[in-house]
């Protein structure tokens, strides 16, 4: 297994929004899920995930409620707001253009 890749600056918000859009979940499960979906390539440290969640909540892009997990623990569950969906669409477009451009450059070589 190769080493986990470091996250590109600014991509964490995009990833979190996309994961939460797919399914509302709590912070811990979110770390696991990011790891799983990216086939262990991306590893998100909880220490940076939570500040990111607070930041997004502060900006009104996600909202949080306390609920019980399947295992019976109380945890904060995050879901994407309408504003968040809009932001996600914008960021996704920007990301696609960016990664497309980078890919094109790399292919040329």
């Amino acid at each position: 297994m190769s080493k986990p890749a470091p996250l590109l600056q600014g991509t964490l918000d995009l990833i979190v929004l996309e994961m939460l859009r797919a399914e509302p979940t709590n912070g811990y499960d979110l770390t696991l899920r990011i790891q799983a979906v990216s086939s262990d390539v991306l590893q998100v440290n909880a220490g940076s995930l939570y500040p990111a969640l607070y930041r997004l909540e502060e900006r009104g892009l996600i909202r949080a409620t306390w609920r019980e997990t399947d295992t019976g623990r109380r945890a904060k569950f995050y879901s994407v707001t309408a504003e968040g969906r809009k932001q996600l669409a914008d960021q996704r477009k920007a990301w696609e253009r960016f990664s497309g451009a980078v890919a094109a450059i790399l292919k040329r070589a």
């Binding site: 220490g47 940076s48 939570y50 607070y54 623990r73 945890a75």
Partner: protein, 885 residues
């Protein structure tokens, strides 16, 4: 909308931040539990799993801090907490705090005062409605706004650029309603003046253009608000009442609004009278002479008309006037000026002076900032252990920097507040200050919102600047090295950036000290300057015969009687009379001068212009003006004799080529009169600005050039109070209705000396500040380097070093800095001498007394600043030092 929501969330979060903290803690716990659950499921024991979960999560306190920072409201909370901590830290070292606050208070205070002056004189001149479109019409030739009545009428009636053009001119009048005439300062204004400015009366009505029905047709007066309060007790019934002005009945029609002080800054007239009544008030009609420039012209531009358009229209009118009236008009080109100092002729030097002051004040602030910067660096170095400990315990560098900066800003804000408070006191004093009682002076310099804002901005900015000085030091701190080895003793480097800063600061301060000394020397010289007359022991009596009802043919006899009467006063050595004010009290009337052979007496063919005075025979005796050659006037130089003049040397040089042989020669005045020069006097001072070069001047016998204004000049050793009683009695005996104003010549000259004196005082204060800043700067450095090397000094003492060696080791460096700085300041001062001589009369920094004074002052500064550190160095007890650490 979003902003509103944000503010709401900010507020609500700020209010329930405890709850927020609790929620974060809960979430953290949930995370750890969930992780531990997973680990247990994979076969780990509960305890091991919880431990593992915590390790995986990493530093919790750091996480909390970062998470908190993400939440709004955090900002305010941080600031409040940092500020509180800063105050606590500063209270631990009060001497440091006080030194820093005083330093900054001085700097901010100086800047606030200077800025208020700029604000009052340049940025916010008159406070009239629609001031943006209000301009005075100036002539480009002399940058003065002043036109004859007839030229004004033509401009007013023909211009399409202005809403309307009004004219005004300050004048001194006498209220003769009471038992003794009292003097007032008035504006003679055109009848449309108030309407052109667009202001409304506080009481009654103003006079309007329709009230102007020709010469002497409008005997109306409008009182200024302050005059109405002080002289009529604010009585509303005053409207409609008749008062006597220069013995003529005038009806008070209204009172001007409270804030209205006319249209010249500095000046606050007591009342306003219509210009068309000038002949009645002054006894001579000046309105019919197109060549006599009488008053300033002011008006609002029409909407949509640019100043450039207006100027080109005025220039076209000017050309037309020149063509139509070539004898009286020349160089009629115009420019528009802001209505404040009545034309750029006065405004420009004022701006230059204030600009120079602002520069000096900025230098003070910079000096204060470097000063505080090194103090802060010293403090940061002293606290390096504490900082290292904080870093080792996991505090982020950002936190520590924020703490240091917030300390700086707290100091800056307190210093700024103290400085502002001081400056408000100074400004209050300035705005009620009456440096010469005979002038209705108005100093619009009280602090307003703009001043407070500037002071606040300067405080915060300077706080950030000097707070930033030790940042590099903190960022480089290696906690382990410091904690292991104690504060970095390190061999003192040869030259640090901080030393250079301090040298620069001392140089600036030495420059300030020097400018203040140059200024003070200039002032003392200007007081003993060669004016061409000696104002000491001379009393002036100002009277006005026209006002007292004398007609021109009767004036000479009355003037002669006054002189004769005053000559009988015991102790009066010489008594003379001069028509209009003696030299340099006011701007004197002038005239073009032509050579004898000039046939065409057009303004353009004049050889020069000269100021003119009408004097009685003994004037030069009474004024102690020495005659270089020729003779004095006698009472035989009367209307039937050859017209003669006594001129100064510049005059002789300009008109005849050289002073030698001028006596006996002739020249011409614009009216064609042939004048013979009978005497020659030294140049002396004739201009209001004492720094100006001497101007050509001509003195005429009073009998050949009669003048209604009569200033009696009495030379006597007796003191003013005795003398003035005697003078009043004598004049009363001649004519009880004769107004008189008595003062010494030196007092009367305050006006002329006002500008250089103000400049000297200001420069003196700035110089003192510079000196104080050097003291604190050197002191800070000496104290700091001493603290750092205390251990080394202790060892030296223990090894038997002599006192001299200790002192050299401890204070050599600060003294070197002082030496280099002062030398730099001296060089700068000599280089800046041009700037200084612009402001200060006869300023020259190459003056040995000034140079010696600066050296001495800086030496005293050095002694004062190093006195305490030197004592501390000498008292170093090696035992205590060795025990410590």
């Amino acid at each position: 909308m979003r902003l509103l929501a944000y503010v709401q969330s900010l507020a609500s979060r700020f209010l329930r931040r405890d709850q927020l903290e609790a929620e974060m803690a809960d979430e953290l716990r949930a995370h750890l539990e969930l992780r531990a659950d997973d680990l247990v499921r994979s076969g780990m024991s509960r305890t091991a799993a919880e431990r593992q979960a915590r390790i995986e999560f990493g530093g919790q306190s750091r996480f909390k801090e970062e998470a908190r920072d993400m939440v709004a409201g955090r900002m305010i909370e941080t600031v409040v907490r940092d500020a509180r901590l800063s105050v606590r830290q500063l209270r631990k070292s009060p001497s440091f705090a006080i030194a820093a606050i005083v330093t900054l208070a001085m700097a901010i205070g100086a800047n606030a005062v200077v800025f208020s002056a700029i604000n009052g004189f340049i940025l916010r001149p008159l406070d009239l409605p629609n001031e943006r479109s209000l301009y005075v019409v100036e002539r480009t030739a002399d940058k003065a706004s002043s036109e004859s009545y007839l030229n004004y009428i033509d401009l007013r009636d023909r211009t399409r650029s202005f809403e309307s053009l009004a004219g005004f001119s300050p004048d001194q009048l006498w209220i003769t309603s009471g038992a003794t005439p009292s003097r007032v300062w008035a504006f003679q204004v055109t009848a449309n003046y108030f309407d052109a400015l667009g202001i409304r009366p506080y009481l009654g009505r103003f006079f309007h253009a329709a009230d102007d029905q020709g010469i002497n047709s409008a005997p109306y007066a409008v009182l200024s608000y302050p005059y109405w309060r002080t002289h009529f007790d604010g009585d509303a019934a005053v409207v409609g009442r008749t008062i006597r002005i220069n013995k003529q009945p005038y009806t008070i029609v209204g009172v001007a609004p409270e804030g209205f002080r006319g249209t010249i800054l500095f000046f606050s007239p007591d009342l306003f009278v219509p210009m068309v009544n000038q002949p009645q008030l002054d006894g001579t009609n000046q309105l019919t002479s197109r060549g006599q420039r009488l008053f300033a012209v002011i008006g609002h531009l029409k909407a949509g008309v640019t100043p450039t358009q207006a100027v080109s229209e005025l220039d076209a009118l000017g050309q037309w006037l020149e063509k139509t009236y070539p004898k009286e008009n020349e160089k009629l080109r115009f420019m528009l000026g802001r209505p404040s100092l009545n034309g750029d002729g006065l405004a420009a030097p004022m701006k230059a002076f204030l600009g120079g002051l602002m520069l000096l004040a900025a230098l003070i602030l910079i000096a204060a900032c470097t000063n505080l910067g090194s103090l802060f660096a010293a403090r940061a170095a002293e606290r390096s252990r504490e900082v290292a400990l904080q870093l080792a315990l996991g505090a982020s560098r950002i936190r520590i920097i924020r703490q240091l900066l917030s300390e700086a800003v707290v100091i800056a804000l307190i210093g700024g507040a103290v400085g502002l408070w001081g400056s408000v006191l100074v400004l209050q004093w300035l705005s009620v200050w009456h440096p010469f009682p005979q002038f209705p002076l108005n100093m619009p310099v009280a602090a307003d919102g703009r001043v407070y804002l500037v002071a606040l901005a300067l405080s915060v900015a300077s706080g950030l600047v000097f707070g930033a000085v030790p940042l590099r030091q903190v960022l480089r701190t290696d906690p382990y090295a410091i904690i292991k080895a104690g504060a970095p003793a390190g061999a003192p480097r040869r030259l640090t950036a901080r030393d250079l800063l301090l040298v620069a600061q001392i140089a600036v301060c030495a420059l300030l000290v020097m400018s203040s000394m140059v200024a003070l020397r200039g002032l003392s010289r200007s007081l003993r300057a060669d004016f061409g007359f000696d104002p000491h022991n001379v009393t002036l009596v100002e009277t006005d015969l026209a006002m007292a009802g004398y007609r021109v043919p009767d004036m000479p006899a009355m003037q002669r009687r006054m002189i004769d009467a005053l000559q009988t006063i015991p102790g009066a050595e010489a008594v003379a009379l001069i028509g209009q004010a003696p030299p340099i009290l006011f701007v004197s009337n002038g005239s073009k001068v032509f050579t004898e052979t000039t046939a065409d007496l057009e303004p353009a063919s004049a050889v020069t212009a000269a100021v003119m005075y009408s004097v009685s025979p003994d004037y030069f005796l009474a004024a102690h003006t020495r005659l270089v050659s020729g003779r004095q006037f006698t009472w035989h130089d009367d209307a039937s004799a050859q017209r003669v003049a006594i001129v100064n040397q510049v005059f002789a040089r300009r008109v005849f080529g050289s002073p030698a042989g001028a006596v006996g020669r002739f020249y011409k005045l614009p009216d064609g009169a042939r004048i013979q020069v009978v005497g020659l006097i030294p140049d002396g001072k004739n201009s209001l600005n004492l720094a100006d070069e001497p101007q050509p001047a001509m003195f005429f016998p009073i009998l050949q050039s009669p003048y209604s204004d009569s200033w009696l000049v009495i030379r006597s050793e007796r003191d003013l109070s005795q003398l003035s009683t005697a003078i009043r009695a004598k004049l009363h005996g001649l004519d009880p209705g004769l107004p008189s104003f008595i003062e010494t010549w030196t007092t009367a000259m305050q006006g002329a000396l006002f500008a250089p004196r103000m400049a000297s005082i200001t420069l003196g204060v700035l110089g003192a500040m510079g000196a104080i800043l050097s003291v604190t700067g050197i002191f800070g450095m000496a104290a700091y380097s001493l603290t750092k090397r205390l251990k080394e000094l202790g060892i030296r003492v223990a090894l038997g070093a002599q006192q001299g060696e200790i002192l050299r080791a401890a204070l050599g460096r600060p003294f070197k800095v002082l030496l280099f700085g002062s030398a730099g300041g001296l060089v700068l001062g000599v280089l800046a001498s041009r700037v200084l001589s612009f402001i200060v009369y006869q300023a020259t920094p190459r003056d040995p007394i000034v140079l010696a004074g600066v050296v001495l002052a800086m030496f005293v500064v050095g002694l004062t600043a190093t006195w305490i550190p030197a004592r501390r160095a000498l008292l170093v007890d090696p035992l205590i030092l060795l025990r410590d650490e």
